[in-house]
Subunit: 876 residues, 2 copies
């Protein structure tokens, strides 16, 4: 027969999924001899059974009664007794902590008879009746559903009647009156009496706790925290102890280390002569735990020992609840303490140094994503904020500045020394210069993988995206009735997504010694290399500083959007012949070369993967619809020349127009149709390599051909690149080892990897595009159109553009890796999509045997840590 109940002596900390976190740890503390009031736990399996069948498994209740008898034996008290009554608490306790989400009932076992027993035992009539009314109030509310306020009203009336202000001024007699009124209230509201039978109280309470697993706030909390709905909660039934039995009693919470800073110091709060609820209610100001040392040194000493024992036993910082009843310490809870990212790093490293845990354990203790907090400016946590609206925290960090709606204006204002927040419906590559000049970016549309978000993360610049409540009207925006003019100051928090009126002070990030130590340990352990995506020398320098071992993706087209170059780029695109095109490409050559020189210098002997031009050409031209409007208006009252000029531009834009540009003439297709473009780019790369090599740097250029779907595309593009590269080396009498590889971002490339690998020295998985095409989701559209709803409805567990989809996209990647290695065992494998900075995706990259991940510079530390974790989690 299944065992549904465990007394605290039977359980242990490894039984969390059966006993819940609270139950397992109470059992563990009991086992190691800490002072825990006796009790037992009904398992989560009962919750599952109860939820499904709306009744308990057969025999369960008899088992509960048997355990209650045992409690009576252990305590020498009797449940509901008029002389020496046993009182218990009933508390929920899920495998994953859901603080405050489910129900608790205290003081069970009190009734009109046993309250007298309590009075006798404590010699404190007021205490006994106060405890009883607390039970009725809590039970009436939680179990029987009577609104909390109605109980409070009765107390208020009593105080009014008695002319007092505080609860503490009410006497035993008052509480007795209150108790009668409470009972009437319950009768009136529910049609039922408050149950005098303590076992009926107990049964109804256990029912209520199990039911609370599916109350609305618990469901919402689980959804927000991605906790599975089928875990269920356990129920803990435990002997009551009382912190409110006089000056040598009290209750407290404590951490074995400082959860904010990680400092090795006891940290906690204590309330003398109080129960746990009083701490939570926040009516009285608690004292620091160190006060306990002065007031009840014996207890403090005992507590210190418990702290040491628990930390050593759990080998982690603990967060505990305890009660002191007449000078006797009772432990009511222990769990691994939540901590800030900074504290997590410090504690992990300190514990290694203290010999408490291994380096491997330290690495596994820190959530890589939390490192984000440490890498960016953030709002001063103590500052006041007037939050206008909350969007998506799309690129972490906080920034303030004047609202501007136009990229050019952002540039000119910032040049005159102003700080600017660029506010756009959405950004396009044409806004790049404005984004660079801004302090941060705020967009109305778009999600976590929109253009604004991706570019901002790449730049390490704060971005809030998808603020759909904002409406931009020319020179101001409106949000929830508030009007914000151009030039007004706002603050954005790219971690939380908050948009705040005015300027909020921010604090600098500081990278502690422990932070660096932890990453050094991660570097020793991980197999995966970590490179950065960087498009310019500034980002490259930052990447190296943060530990990047190379550049995994240098996008060359961002260089084309530079406002100084764009007119030349546009003329190149408008060219009617290959010759004309070459003329403009020749003008671009020295500029591109300069970009690469800077990057090569920054990267030294680290490999640099440069991707040839990728986006469709029309992205460099004005928008078709804007030109159409312009032309229509010009025809009303423009001159012939203007009309002709716009018409010509529109004609070319129409020629280049595509219904689905993401699936159109871009990537290597461009280089095959217009070879002169990639000839120029290859020349720029190799000439830059020669120049830097001549300065004594052992440059390692790697040229990447994007969007290959058929081996012949790679073959042809590769021939062009190889020819130009060789001829540049020959012209310069130089000898530089360069590599040529391809992105794997088209499903067909993954499917035919065995062929493609024959012509590639390296692969870089472009998982953004690969996800787009494998799912048939347009990254630009899906998030705002249906993806959010899909995640809401649990059709998808995660946004596949953020967390790599292992079943679909991952299956293609696995095929590509194993088929590619078949025909080219020396193939180098990496990833440069957004997923390269996502810990779950990094783990997958480790599992399938990639050589490195590449991500934006600011995610490099995260990737270093995640890569080490991946190795540790998949040791077998």
């Amino acid at each position: 027969m299944t065992k549904y109940i465990y007394s605290f002596e039977e359980g242990g900390k490894e039984m969390k999924s059966l006993l819940g976190g609270k139950g397992a740890n109470l059992a563990e503390m009991t086992k190691i001899g800490l002072p825990v009031p006796p009790g037992f736990t009904i398992t989560t399996e009962v919750c599952a059974y109860f939820t499904k069948n709306n009744k308990y498994p057969e025999g369960l209740w008899d088992d509960v009664l048997a355990h209650m008898k045992e409690l009576e034996k252990k305590t020498g008290k009797k449940f509901g007794d008029s002389e020496n009554p046993l009182l218990v608490s009933v508390r929920s306790g899920a495998p994953i902590s859901m603080p405050g989400m489910m129900d608790t009932i205290l003081n069970l076992g009190l009734n009109d008879v046993s309250v007298k027993g309590l009075e006798k035992q404590t010699g404190d009539e007021r205490f006994a009746y106060d405890s009883y009314r607390r039970l009725i109030q809590m039970f009436g509310n939680v179990v029987m559903g009577v609104p909390h306020e109605k109980f409070e009203e009765i107390i208020s009336e009593q105080k009014k009647k008695r002319g007092v202000k505080e609860d503490t001024e009410l006497t035993a007699a008052d509480w007795r009156e209150v108790i009668e009124k409470y009972k009437e209230l319950i009768k009136k509201e529910t049609g039922r009496e408050f149950p005098q039978d303590p076992y009926e109280q107990l049964r109804m309470s256990v029912d209520a706790v199990f039911k609370s697993w599916n109350n609305e706030r618990a469901i919402v909390y689980r959804k927000a925290n991605k906790i599975p709905d089928d875990l269920g909660t356990a129920v803990n039934i435990q002997t009551m102890v009382f912190g409110n039995m006089g000056p040598d009693s009290g209750t407290g919470v404590a951490f074995t280390r400082n959860p904010a800073t990680g400092e090795k110091e006891y940290f906690g709060e204590f309330l003398f002569n109080a129960q746990g609820e009083d701490v939570v209610a926040g009516i009285r100001t608690p004292k620091s735990i160190s006060d306990l040392k002065k007031e009840i040194p014996k207890v403090y000493e005992q507590l210190e020992n418990v702290f040491k024992t628990l930390e050593k036993h759990y080998r982690n910082m603990q967060d505990m609840e305890f009660t002191v009843e007449k000078g006797k310490l009772y432990m009511l809870q222990t769990r691994t303490g939540k901590r800030t990212a900074a504290a997590a790093v410090k504690i992990a490293v300190d514990m290694v140094n203290e010999g408490l845990i291994t380096k491997e354990e330290a690495i596994l203790r820190v959530n890589p994503n939390d490192l984000n907090q440490l890498l960016h400016r953030r709002l001063d946590p103590n500052a006041k904020k007037d939050v206008l609206v909350k969007g998506l925290g799309a690129s972490p960090g906080a920034a303030s500045g004047k609202v501007v709606f136009d990229a050019d204006e952002t540039v000119s204002l910032s040049e005159s020394g102003e700080k600017v927040i660029l506010v756009r419906n959405e950004t396009t590559p044409e806004d790049i210069h404005g984004m660079i000049a801004s302090q941060g970016i705020l967009t109305v549309h778009g999600g976590m993988t929109s253009h604004a978000a991706v570019v901002a993360r790449g730049m390490g610049k704060p971005c809030v995206a998808g603020c759909e409540d904002i409406e931009i009207h020319g020179d101001f925006f409106e949000v929830k009735g508030v009007r914000v003019e151009k030039g007004e100051e706002i603050t954005i928090d790219g971690s939380t997504g908050e948009v705040i009126k005015g300027i909020v002070p921010t604090v600098e990030p500081t990278l502690s010694g422990e932070f660096k130590t932890l990453l050094t340990w991660a570097d020793e352990i991980r197999d995966l290399g970590v490179r950065a995506n960087a498009d310019n020398p500034k980002d490259a320098v930052k990447a190296v500083e943060l530990g990047a071992e190379g550049i995994g993706l240098c996008r060359t087209e961002h260089m084309f959007f530079d406002p100084e170059r764009l007119p030349t780029v546009q003329k190149m695109i408008m060219s009617k012949t290959s010759e004309e095109r070459k003329k403009y490409l020749d003008l671009l050559l020295p500029m591109q070369r300069e970009d690469f020189v800077g990057i090569f210098k920054a990267m030294g002997s680290r490999p640099v993967i440069i991707r040839l031009i990728d986006p469709p050409l029309h992205e460099f031209l004005p928008k078709r619809e804007d030109l159409m409007v312009k032309l229509a208006l010009l025809k009303e009252h423009g001159n012939e020349n203007e009309i002709k000029e716009v018409q010509e531009l529109l004609d070319r834009v129409n020629e280049l127009h595509e219904a689905n540009p993401m699936l159109g003439l871009r990537g290597c297709r461009l280089g095959i149709i217009y070879p002169e473009i990639i000839e120029m780019q290859t020349r720029a790369i190799m000439e830059a390599a020669v120049e830097v090599k001549n300065e004594g740097v052992d440059v390692k250029p790697e040229i990447m051909i994007p969007l290959v779907g058929h081996v012949n595309e790679l073959r042809i593009a590769r021939e062009i690149v190889d020819r130009v590269a060789k001829s540049v080396l020959e012209e310069n009498g130089a000898d530089i080892h360069y590599m040529i590889g391809t992105m794997i971002e088209i499903p067909r490339a993954a499917l035919t990897s065995e062929e493609i690998a024959k012509h590639a020295e390296f692969y870089s998985f472009g998982t953004n595009d690969l996800t787009q095409m494998t799912f048939g989701y347009s990254r630009d559209d899906a998030e705002s159109k249906f993806l959010a709803q899909y995640i809401d409805k649990k059709i998808l567990k995660d946004n596949p553009f953020a967390v790599l989809d292992r079943d679909g996209v991952g299956k293609l990647m696995k095929m590509a890796v194993s088929d590619g290695k078949k025909s080219n065992p020396k193939l180098e494998l990496g990833i440069c999509g957004e997923h390269g900075g996502n810990p779950s995706s990094i783990e997958f990259c480790h599992i399938i045997g990639l050589n490195y991940v590449s991500c934006s510079p600011y995610r490099v530390p995260i990737a270093r840590l995640a890569a080490a974790q991946a190795k540790l989690k998949n040791k077998n």
Copy 2:
């Protein structure tokens, strides 16, 4: 040692790839005892060697000399002899016939000395010198590169000088003068003498033939006919015979059956006293072969026997060349005769009836694609045509009508009895009513799989697409300097892609009894079922008539584009709440139901797969850019109400706007976001099924959920469909078996097929979308932007939207089939993409074990035949 030369006695018809078609068949005829002038063949391997190394394999020439000696022995003549000279021809002969593409030299072996021998042997001085001058002329041109016209000039001068008009009036003396002038010409033009050494003549000729494999016209021909460049040609060296040695001599070509009609009758042409070149030159009008019967009955009888022998031996209709030299018949060539589609069908069926071939062979004899010719009206082959331009033959058939540029106008004109050709830059779903009303469609942009092409093929309506030379300007179009006004008549030929000025008469298609017989045989053999894609009752009737066994794809959205319904559809889309949307859906319900009633009635007890709504909603609204222009102009001088109305429409269009609609909110995503749409559609389908079932028809509805990429999408959509279907059946007390399945058109669906198959009763591969996403090609853009160039550059062998890509898309399909069968062995498998009507793709569907293919009604016969061929070709 490799054998490089085969005498005719050594080869045989199975050695085509080594000896070329001509050589293999000359050997075969020799082997079976037919009169073939002796000779030998240098293999295609020599060509490959020669092309690569620019020289012959060692020992080759000695071997040629040895074979020449043998020829001398066989004929009793001597090469270059002054008494009894041996003359030979040197002819190319590739494994696949390339008529006229490579070089031939006749009369080799003549020189100043041997010409006298020929004179002695024939007693005909004029013949001897005429033969000699023919050699010099042909050799001078083909081998030594002197332009043909320069030789003709010399003859013209000679005729002028002698005052005669015809070549035949020139005497032996004249030819001797001409010969001297020819020699001077060659010397002058090339600096070299015409070689007197017959072996030098021979060697230079063989060189020239091998080199001609890579002349420009041969390369172009191979590209056009998809013949691999590495096949190479063989060279045949054969004893000359002469059809120009008097009235009992002559030369002819013949077919064993009529190649135009397939009638069992000898068919051919004969020229008395002439050489092969004279027939080709077309100077004299040849006589019918039956004249030979009257003039030289003995030879005709002999010829008749040869015809019978060859047809029986080759078991196929033969196309032959022969020469009669002084009453003696010589066979110079035989090969399988080319034939029209009608003849192919008739000959195949007749031969089965004659016991010559099996039904299986008959089925393999007809190219399924050629059946197209038989199924559509075509231009009268004898009519004159003034071709304006040639586009892509996108949907076969021919049609004439007045040029109209607008869909609405097409409808109104056609309603007043006019025939109209709809001319558009490209068509969109909004043009459907115009396409239906038109005789045919002509588009400027778009390829074989553009909207216009796909829809037109579905309707069986002629379409010429991708006429990029046409420029539409409002009320007229211009093409290559010709202006065609609206209302002018044009004719389009959707098979050849021709656009013709004026009306060209057309002829009706007739389906012969043999056609039906052949398809009946195909039906007996094939495993694959054949269904049709049909969206309305008319197409469904046609499909059944052409042999469809069900509907594999009924698209429901085309019904939404009906001009009567579109306003309601638009209101539905503009709705702000689910309730409002339902109101308009309720109005659409009876219309959709009616559509389905008609289709169910047409299909009887055959299965009908109906796909729920697929395209993005914005396709039903006006275009965003048009609205933007309209609004901008209205703001100049419109009234407030108009502006407001357009602004509202534009706002909704903006909301629905997507950067890449193909990857956006469409397919099942729509049904999940707006369940009320597919609820209405399911209700319409099931109510129609009930209605038709009540009339005694055993309806078989199958509901298909499009664009599934994750099993949860299918699960949720399926629940909605199932719920509504069951409730309709319950409301009506009806019991109808219906199936629910999904399209497999997203790569991820194929990759996760094992999961998806658990929730699907059938799969239909949507290979259009699957190809788009697997390649990352937008069907609307790729063809005009880069696909044509890709095929030109041989990056891709075929357009993957026309011929299924087995390596990539096919790999996904194979995975989907085998993984799907794992979890659902009863899964029904079909295909409804454009590939369902393409023979190569049908073969692949057979190989991977699909249950059926579905294609447009007019391709059903093609699919039936192709399915049988697939079975036969893959028997092992």
